[in-house]
């Protein structure tokens, strides 16, 4: 369970203060699929980064499974990212000098309890691409690889910042499908950030941000199938 309690993120530059997040309160249940929506600059990425332990909270409490991660030391945060978090970027951030397989394999050194590299690559449909380099892949393939890399270490939480932002509709749908399936299969809490409000119906929880504040939280009892989304 992820619980944000009056979480604020304040950026200071000189005398200026920017409240990227302003006393945000929300809860995401374990195994849920959450969609974070909002206009540009509303604080979506900021929130995701805080949950992912990539940045520090300015004020408030951020509890993961009942533990306040704002109290953790830098080394504890390293472990937190290692054991708990999987991250999928908009621009993939793969390592160009490693092959498809190696890009995933390198993560397996982080934990004993990981998925089988070849199986996960097969399941994201990169079976035939294992010995290619990222340079040789298409955008959709790159994102699938990026997903495989994120889930191979069996994270508890999978965070995706605009995972379909750089992709066409068809490919986007396939990526979302894949994320959803993998999360379900492995009991992973999935949070996807997007500015595409058409996607709101596919999540279990839909969080609307605006100007750093939560504008609306909706629980969606019967999410629609991803393929039915109108883009």
């Amino acid at each position: 369970m992820i619980k944000l309690n009056e979480v604020s993120k304040i950026y200071k530059s000189g005398t200026n203060e920017i409240k990227a997040l302003d006393k945000v309160c929300l809860t995401i249940e374990k195994g849920e699929f959450a969609i974070v929506l909002g206009p540009s600059g509303s604080g979506k990425s900021t929130m995701l980064n805080l949950i992912g332990g990539m940045d520090t909270v300015s004020e408030g409490k951020l509890e993961i499974d009942g533990e306040d991660i704002t109290k953790k030391s830098a080394a504890e945060m390293e472990n937190y990212r290692r054991d708990m978090i999987g991250f999928v970027f908009q621009f993939y951030n793969l390592i160009p000098s490693l092959t498809v397989r190696e890009n995933v394999d390198i993560v397996t050194s982080l934990t004993k309890n990981h998925l089988n590299v070849d199986e996960i690559l097969d399941s994201v449909g990169l079976k035939e691409r294992k010995s290619l380099f990222p340079f040789n892949l298409s955008g959709g393939e790159l994102q699938r690889l990026s997903i495989a890399r994120a889930v191979v270490k069996k994270p508890k939480i999978l965070l995706c910042d605009e995972p379909t932002g750089a992709l066409d509709t068809q490919t986007g749908i396939r990526i979302l499908r894949l994320l959803n399936d993998i999360a379900r299969e492995n009991d992973i809490t999935l949070i996807i950030v997007t500015h595409n409000s058409n996607l709101k119906d596919i999540g279990d929880t839909v969080i609307q941000l605006k100007d750093g504040k939560v504008e609306n939280i909706e629980k969606n009892t019967s999410p629609i199938e991803i393929e039915q989304v109108e883009w």
């Binding site: 992912g52 390293e78 990212r81 621009f91 793969l94 390592i95 160009p96 993560v107 380099f133």
Partner: protein
């Protein structure tokens, strides 16, 4: 345009470590070269001025004595008005066993003592003009009295002035001294009358003539008949030749080292600047997309390189001549005495500045141009150098090895093959560091080990004495007990085809005081037909066994000699033969050196015909002292090398780091710990260091060899000697710097702004 300027300065702030690297590299290169150049060029210029101020003669004529008739012949028959006659004797200070070479001049037309203090030299005065160094060492001043003895005569002189004699800038007092002993040996000018008070009827023996007259050998023979010895022209004078060589040596030392400096700096700066530009590709793409003219964009980035290298060069040009000359000149002044040593910039330093500035500017402009050739969309899209295709290298084809490598190493290897230039630069950085440090440390070591060879392997005597030359030496020195060997060493020239070299001709009794060894280090016993040539001279003249060379000895004669063997003896470089062979080819054997073993020092020193005696140990000590003057130069170079190595390794590693920072950040997000990422960095560095180190050692050995060959005077061969200590020091510096840089950079991994590093696409 104004905005672009402002942008340049903002970028300087952002990339300041990079710019600082370029700045320091230009600074060091220019400071070292410029600082050394002002010394050697200053020496050339100062000597030229000194020559002019001393009215240096153009022709020197040596005779066994000049009578009044001879003078009349020259002045009336030949019509020569301007002549300076001179003669010298070796006087002794009464109690102290100090020697002063006394010179009397007829006038100072072509030999003007350079006045330091006191009165101007007067050829009629009864006073004495004393050499500055001797005066300093013995705390003598104008007005003081000196009691001088010559054989049985004594005379008291009042010091009228303190002077320097240009012809004695390398004065040591004895041919056995390689460094001056100013405390015990001095020189002075007195009048002819005073000289004759000490040495009655002692005639003038030398003549100095100016530019206007030039007497030929045959004319001199007809005037002086058999009293004529030989003449020398300006270009034959040993001290001028030597001072030229000193300046030449300093020049070569600085050029060779600076060349490596400049090469390394240029390469590093080139990659630094081009990488910097590549990091700006998004901005370049944007500017192009916004319609800024390509020329303007190039100019803008050209400014980067230009400004930073110009500032570095100016700083070097200002600093070098402040820091280096005081050290260098102090060391050089232990052997050469000049009234002044002006510092003059050599034009070549401007050429080097131009080259460095050009490289920096060119690197920026060229890389900007390369990026600009692409369409904006492509420039902007391609953010992570993804255009550099990864290919499977040779190693990867050997699956059996490859599949066993850890991912981190595979990554490093592929990255290096993808960025060959970067990888190569890293290796060159390490290699260059090894070369500079090993050579810097090895030069003095080599010189000292060569000295050791000369004075322990090659020489076996206890004492060596300079003696007055005579044919009945056996009799004259019979009081001296122990083993004795008489040798004659004379300066001369060797001629082969069109090559001429100043050499030393040795005629030896060969009784084992000096060993001659062949190139396999086996002892050679001279026989009466033998003519040995030393190895370095043989190489310089292109001579082999069986070749004929022409050997000339000043004032004695010349002969063509057939070389029978080559000897590996290091010093002096020249021709060696037995006394019998010498007598057959040149003249009576009248030795000037006595080498002795097991003799009593008292007996040697008491003998009136012994001019100066020293021990083998003392000679070794002096030679090592001389090597220390080279050492001082080396310390400057080593220090500069260390700084350069730090700057280069840091700059290159930093570039690598910047280029891969995003990848490291990704790893951090994936959950890699700081030390795990550090070991990846370390992997990368280790590979570079190992390769650079191995290649560096071989290159360094070769460089040291070449360096010693080029830098050594002709009279001695220096054999390169690479000791483990130098190797260990160089290795620990290079490896230490590389490791420290890795740790420094890895501390940055912790501080990576995980959010920020993904946000920006540049």
């Amino acid at each position: 345009m104004k905005h672009l300027f402002i942008k340049t300065f903002r970028d300087v702030k952002t990339y300041w470590t990079q710019f600082l690297g370029v700045f320091f590299m230009t600074l060091i290169s220019i400071a070292i070269y410029g600082g050394m150049a002002v010394v050697w060029h200053g020496l050339d210029v100062s000597v030229e001025k000194y020559m002019e101020e001393s009215n240096l003669a153009n022709q020197w004529i040596y005779t066994m004595g000049i009578s009044d008739e001879d003078m009349a012949k020259l002045e009336t028959d030949e019509g020569i008005k301007d002549i300076t006659y001179s003669t010298s004797i070796r006087g002794e200070l009464k109690q102290t066993n100090q020697f002063i070479e006394l010179t009397a001049l007829s006038n100072d037309r072509f030999m003007k003592p350079y006045l330091i203090k006191g009165q101007k030299y007067d050829a009629e005065s009864t006073g004495i003009w004393l050499d500055k160094k001797f005066a300093e060492e013995n705390k003598l001043n104008p007005g003081d009295k000196l009691n001088i003895k010559y054989e049985e005569n004594k005379k008291e002189f009042e010091i009228k002035g303190i002077v320097l004699n240009i012809e004695k800038m390398f004065f040591t007092g004895s041919s056995l001294l390689s460094m001056p002993d100013h405390k015990n040996f001095g020189y002075a000018f007195i009048s002819k009358e005073s000289l004759n008070d000490l040495a009655p009827f002692y005639p003038y023996t030398e003549i100095r003539l100016g530019q206007d007259f030039n007497l030929s050998e045959s004319k001199l023979e007809s005037v002086f008949e058999d009293k004529y010895l030989f003449f020398e022209k300006l270009e034959d004078k040993n001290f001028l030749d030597r001072v030229e060589k000193e300046s030449d040596q300093m020049m070569k030392m600085s050029i060779l080292f600076s060349l490596v400096f400049i090469l390394l700096s240029a390469l590093t700066m080139y990659s630094s600047m081009s990488r910097l530009i590549t990091n700006q590709r998004t901005i370049i793409g944007t500017m192009k997309a916004l319609g800024v003219k390509a020329r303007k964009i190039k100019l803008h980035y050209g400014l980067y390189g230009l400004i930073i290298s110009v500032i570095g060069s100016i700083a070097g040009l200002l600093l070098g001549p402040k820091i280096i000359p005081p050290i260098l000149i102090r060391v050089k002044e232990t052997t050469v005495t000049l009234p002044y040593w002006n510092l003059v910039n050599h034009n070549s330093v401007y050429l080097i500045i131009t080259v460095l500035v050009f490289i920096c500017t060119f690197a920026s402009i060229k890389n900007t141009g390369k990026i600009l050739k692409q369409v904006p969309a492509k420039i902007l899209r391609n953010t992570h150098n993804m255009d550099r295709v990864v290919k499977k290298g040779f190693l990867e084809k050997i699956d059996f090895i490859w599949s066993r490598l850890p991912n981190g190493l595979k990554w490093t290897l592929r990255d290096n093959s993808r960025n060959k230039v970067r990888f190569l630069m890293g290796i060159i950085g390490v290699l260059g560091g090894m070369v500079l440090l090993i050579a810097g440390l090895g030069v003095t070591k080599s010189i000292k080990s060569s000295n050791d060879y000369i004075y322990t392997e090659q020489s076996k005597y206890d004492y060596i004495s300079e003696i007055k030359r005579s044919s009945n030496y056996e009799e004259v020195f019979q009081d001296i007990d122990g083993d004795k060997e008489f040798n004659l060493t004379l300066p001369g020239t060797a001629l082969k085809d069109d090559k001429t070299k100043n050499i030393v001709i040795t005629a030896s009794e060969d009784k084992g005081m000096i060993l001659y060894k062949n190139l396999n280090d086996q002892e050679i016993k001279l026989d009466n037909e033998d003519v040995l040539i030393t190895k370095k001279l043989a190489e310089q003249l292109g001579i082999g066994v069986g070749d004929i060379i022409k050997v000339k000895i000043k004032g004695i004669g010349e002969d063509s000699l057939k070389i029978t063997r080559i000897t590996g003896n290091l010093s002096p470089q020249g021709i060696i033969m037995t006394k019998d062979k010498y007598e057959k080819s040149f003249a009576d054997f009248m030795p000037n050196l006595l080498l002795s073993k097991g003799s009593s020092l008292n007996a040697i020193e008491e003998n009136k015909q012994v001019l100066y005696t020293t021990t083998r140990n003392q000679q070794l000590h002096q030679a090592d002292k001389l090597a220390e003057s080279v050492e001082a130069i080396m310390y400057i170079l080593i220090l500069a090398s260390v700084v350069l190595v730090v700057v280069i390794i840091y700059t290159l590693s930093n570039l690598n780091y910047i280029e891969r920072e995003r990848e490291y950040a990704t790893l951090r997000v994936l959950g890699f710990r700081k030390n795990e990422i550090r070991s990846i960095l370390l992997n990368d560095s280790t590979l570079t260091v190992i390769i650079g180190w191995i290649v560096g050692i071989f290159t360094a050995a070769k460089f040291l060899d070449i360096y010693l060959k080029i830098v050594a005077f002709d009279s001695v061969e220096w054999v390169s000697y690479l000791d483990n200590k130098a190797l260990a020091i160089a290795t620990s510096i290079v490896v230490g710097v590389s490791l420290s840089v890795v740790f420094l950079l890895s501390s940055r991994i912790r501080k990576i702004d995980l959010v920020g590093s993904f946000k920006s696409v540049e």
